[in-house]
Symmetry: C2
Subunit: 697 residues, 2 copies
């Protein structure tokens, strides 16, 4: 990809002299920063902006590694052919009018793709804003040249942005505010050829990039994406626009209906330690923070020292932290003693550390500096959050000193800044230079701190596993035949047979064909039992009155058997099950996601599933530690840990179930969906008491 990032010469096809036109803007931008050869291409001009203009790409001299195309879509295929003839390795198509505009544009894009595949040319775009490399001052883009009038703050965050306009707008905003450093911005548009995965691969190797942020509307190859992220030593943050909303009517299982709304994406990202953002500046703020502290001690906990100039903000921050699992650190006695040196006598130091009176007594630099030294040295403190005010009250701390303490002690420092406008901006710029993340909004700062201290940052903690587990689950021929021949829902009994073969614990049960067999089965299991009617295509057995719970006598069996036969017109089967009592109910499932392929779901089941949607998806195959990590990400940890004297859920047993469910679905392509709801948790152990397997049609 070096020909995109460090080309020795660039041909600009469609360069024009007119003010403000895209074709001129590209040349303008190149001229102001790019150090290689610039070759305008346009048969109508002899000279553009002082550069000789070539009638065709064929006429451009060496060296030329990259052609930037800014001509009408319909002209692009011919230019591509010429690029192929001229043996240019990289083409960046910035013009629009391709697949995004409908069938006609799509046909042109397909033609371009065909030429690219034949010739081996790598194509970036079309319908994109190209590439900006801030430290090199390389701007291969139609983005407005007025950004040169403001400060171009180089940083170590690189971005990959799918939407063209968004990339440009965002860049202008960030660069002109000058408070957030950028390394590279790659606007990939329709990603016809070069996609996010190619660029992640490049940026992982790029020494100037410390954190990678992506805005994506789709995943070009979800599994390659996951594999890259799993291996990335650099933090990655994704803002995913447009969650896959699966049509609820198309879903036969509960699992499938839950898999929309981004649940699979969220699970896949968490599985490989990628952070997820919900909005643009949040994405940048996460990246910025992570790029400044890419390596936090994995032993770090969630204990925060807050240095503030106003008790009120300390209180508010404590309240906000509560929502992110962060707690105010309990300061040690030696720390308290040290703080006393900058506190008035009437005021006992505590955390949040209110430094107003201390700053009045000692001056802000001494008060904040001494407090920073004290809390950063405290082994009970994992990070320091400082409230700063500039303008008017003589509260400004010595930021380089605070930053130096943070680096020396390995405790990340984050700041919240308020005050007079111009002073705030200067403070932000100084902080950017010092690699101290600074925020205008307290909740955003807290959120970024939580990202930093998130145990998910450590690959070990998320159970991410480079050695992928084997996926083969062998099932007996008789079941294999069913898998091959049936389609749609298969009945509960067969479904559970299949699950049992995969090593998933299922309730004891028998299919019975007479009342006597039913009674015999019940006697074998012991009363009470459950009696169910199985009918082809009848999904919601409970609602149809086909589930009889708590049958506790032979007479009950008789009555139940007769009622079921009547309800099913003699056309169904009757199933007698041991009735399992349990403390809580869980569920698990399998689904094939259009972007990530085979996926497994776990969650709370039964009535809890109706009350709260507490489910986590993971992408198959799952390693055992990944499965454990999924269970650990459920919201209802309190329930899983055992309540009311009940045994805690056996997480290892449930994790093995998830691993096997993943393997079962992964190794049998005709399995479309699986629902196991509920698993009754009996003395901690999960047993499937209902199950549904859906086969391909």
């Amino acid at each position: 990809m070096e020909f995109f990032f460090k080309p020795r010469g660039i041909a600009v096809v469609g360069a024009t002299p007119g003010q403000g036109k895209g074709g001129r803007v590209i040349i303008d931008n190149l001229k102001r920063g790019y150090s290689g050869e610039i070759y305008p291409v346009n048969p109508r001009y002899e000279d553009i902006e002082g550069f000789p203009c070539y009638p065709s790409i064929l006429d451009v001299p060496d060296p030329v590694d990259l052609a930037i195309l800014f001509v009408s879509a319909r002209l692009v295929p011919a230019v591509m052919e010429a690029c192929a003839t001229r043996k240019i390795p990289g083409v960046m198509i910035q013009s629009a009018g391709f697949a995004e505009t409908g069938d006609q544009g799509r046909a042109i894009q397909d033609e371009v793709k065909r030429i690219a595949d034949l010739s081996g040319i790598r194509v970036w775009g079309p319908n994109c804003m190209g590439l900006v490399d801030a430290p090199s001052r390389y701007i291969f883009s139609t983005v407005t040249p007025t950004i040169w009038d403001t400060q171009l703050v180089p940083g170590s965050v690189s971005m990959i942005v799918q939407s063209g306009m968004l990339a440009g707008a965002f860049l202008v905003d960030i660069i002109s505010h000058g408070t957030m450093g950028i390394n590279k911005v790659c606007s990939i548009g329709n990603k016809m050829d070069v996609n996010e995965n190619d660029l992640i691969e490049y940026l992982i190797q790029d020494p100037a990039t410390k954190a990678i942020g992506l805005y994506l509307e789709s995943f070009a190859d979800g599994r390659r994406f996951m594999d890259l992220c799993r291996r990335s030593p650099k933090p990655i943050v994704v803002l995913n626009g447009g969650k896959t909303a699966r049509g609820a009517e198309a879903a036969m299982s509960h699992t499938a209906s839950l898999s929309g709304d981004g649940a699979v994406i969220a699970g896949a990202l968490a599985q490989v330690g990628v952070f997820q953002a919900q909005a643009f500046y949040q994405l940048m703020d996460f990246c910025r923070t992570l790029s400044m502290y890419p390596e936090i001690n994995p032993e770090s906990q969630n204990r925060v020292a807050i240095l503030t100039y106003t008790g009120g903000a300390g209180i508010v921050q404590t309240d906000i932290m509560d929502g992110y699992g962060l707690v105010p650190a309990e300061l040690s006695d030696p720390t308290i003693e040290k703080l006393k040196s900058v506190f008035p006598e009437w005021m006992p130091p505590s955390n949040p550390v209110d430094l107003w009176p201390g700053a009045i007594l000692n001056g802000p630099k001494k008060a904040f500096g001494a407090a920073m030294e004290a809390v950063a040295a405290d082994p009970g403190v994992d990070a320091v959050f400082v409230h700063c005010f500039v303008g008017g009250f003589e509260l400004e701390p010595d930021l380089p000193h605070l930053s130096e303490v943070a680096r020396r002690t390995g405790k990340p420092l984050l700041c919240w800044i308020s005050g007079e406008r111009e002073l705030v901006t200067s403070f932000q710029r100084e902080a950017e230079q010092l690699s101290v993340p600074v925020f205008r909004e307290l909740p955003r700062g807290v959120e970024c701190l939580s990202v930093l201290l998130n145990p998910g940052r450590s690959k070990a903690a998320i159970g991410s596993d480079l050695s992928r587990p084997s996926t083969a689950i062998k099932i007996p021929d008789v079941l294999n035949k069913i898998l091959d021949s049936e389609n749609g829902n298969i009945d509960e009994y067969l479904s559970k047979q299949l699950l049992a073969e995969a090593g998933i614990p299922v309730v004891e049960e028998d299919l019975v064909s007479s009342m006597d067999e039913a009674k015999a089965a019940a006697l074998q299991f012991g009363f009470p039992v459950v009696v169910k009617g199985l009918m082809k295509g009848a999904g919601h057995k409970t609602e149809l009155g086909l589930v009889h719970l708590g049958i506790d006598s032979p007479a009950g069996i008789a009555s139940s058997f007769n009622r079921l036969q009547a309800a099913m017109n003699g056309k169904g089967k009757v199933l007698v099950q041991r009735q399992v009592k349990g403390e809580i109910e869980m569920m698990a499932g399998f689904v094939r996601d259009p972007q990530f392929g085979p996926c497994v779901m776990c969650g709370l089941g039964g009535i809890l599933a109706e009350a709260i949607n507490d489910t986590i998806f993971g992408v198959a195959p799952l390693s055992f530690s990944e499965a454990l990590s999924m269970i650990g990400r459920l919201k209802s940890q309190k329930l899983l840990n055992g309540i009311r004297g009940f045994a805690p859920v056996d997480r290892e047993a449930f994790a093995r179930i998830l691993v096997r469910l993943a393997a079962l679905g992964d190794s049998h392509p005709r399995i479309q969906e699986i629902d196991i709801n509920p698993f009754v948790i009996n003395n901690g152990s999960p047993v499937a008491v209902d199950g549904l397997v859906v086969l391909a049609d």
Copy 2:
């Protein structure tokens, strides 16, 4: 309060000439804006800043309505005495060193309070930053005079801020950024006398104030606060710093342990239609938005038209809206037709309305203008959210036109702005003048829109009721005697007797003293029954093995009775209950909150209470509609509406229970806490199957 807000003359006690000193700053600030008489008071000077300086407050001539004190705390009582002699109606104490600094300071504050009470002087502060009135340019504060160097943007939001430093810092920040208009900021400090309620009362009457924002660390009088908010026609927003964390060990009931962490405050605010913020700029943003659209059509729903210059941001906004219950409006056919006039042929208009190609074709002013006219006229659109970009891409809309359409059609318009720094600021200032709320962060804009469209804005919708329900619940003498004589927990049987007298449905049950009585009771209720052992002080009966469920035969009764007698050493009582089967379990409770007094709680019960903390508090007495509104604010509406073919919960029956529970607790002051958990919901109807009443010690 007019002597605070519009004094004819102000004495500044402790005025000094030194640069940057508080006593000088006050005079500086007064001089630059205040139009009445200014009287520095300080025996050491003859003249300060060109004003004659008086040796004592006694020497200050008429008119003088307000004295601002900026002298050491220990001198304040003597000055107060002098103010009393001089008959000054209002005193604002800006110096610190009072109750906030410990016992010594508290003693001084008590002395000041004594003088104030005796003399009738109203005291504002101490330990505060005073008052700023932006449109009048009255700055009665030590806040830095450099704020005069920046634009003082007058607006219609007034603030009441408990923390002194915070008020000052906040003000400097907001004023210097010039993007958020302010009417009055009242920093009330220790609120020894003048408190938030006095100021709310004043600001409700103040024609210049359209929305009121408060930062509070405590409520001076929660019930007066609620009464004022209930009657306020103006929107009120509260940021509450420092949630009351009740000591869990002090709480005997589940209800009491849940009442900490701000749950009571959140319930009380919602009950009277007050919005709650979690952070400072959020507080301001809510206020700003509400002040610009104080009167939204109460029929408004949640349907939003999004006009954007980039599809990506439209998608992201849609995702964010999902979390706030807002949906993209379905545009009508006529609207789509109108949009076509500014769309290219290949692009069918839809919502989010992506105007990039249209803006390139028609220019941004025409594209955004026509789109705004179209969507605002659509009866299926409740609000319009516009993405704006300034700088570089020729995307800038005609904001005055958009604003005019919004006002004309009654559809609120909100904007998200990105772009070049200075242009963004100009845009924000222009929007402020046009009363269009504009945001730098998309999620904040969406959040503010949700506040605007929140049905809680309408007093009718929250069931807020000015006629307070009567609270008298009469109970028989025998129970009254128990209430008067017992303390701490009373047993389950007595507790439920009390609840039954209050009209709360409880399960049928009998106290039995022999095995025969137990069997007789069981036969009367019908098997299965529940048999419980009641022992003084034994709270968690289930954990102690004192609850036997599903006893289904006379033999079972015998065994159960014997086991309980053994477990209780013959010292307890045995209770036989009808076993009630139900679909889900709920709970309710009563507690006395230190700030808001008698409160009622409702929530999901049983195992659901352990899984999810879904509870809502309300302040007693409750009207029926307020109780219904509490139930409507539970998160688990899906469960309450009936799942799996079960009947929906009878909300009216449950609301009557809450009203009665409130009345019971409210009318019997020895009742400290009540827990009813669970209410079994049987065919929709709630029946209390366990209950605990805790009396005062």
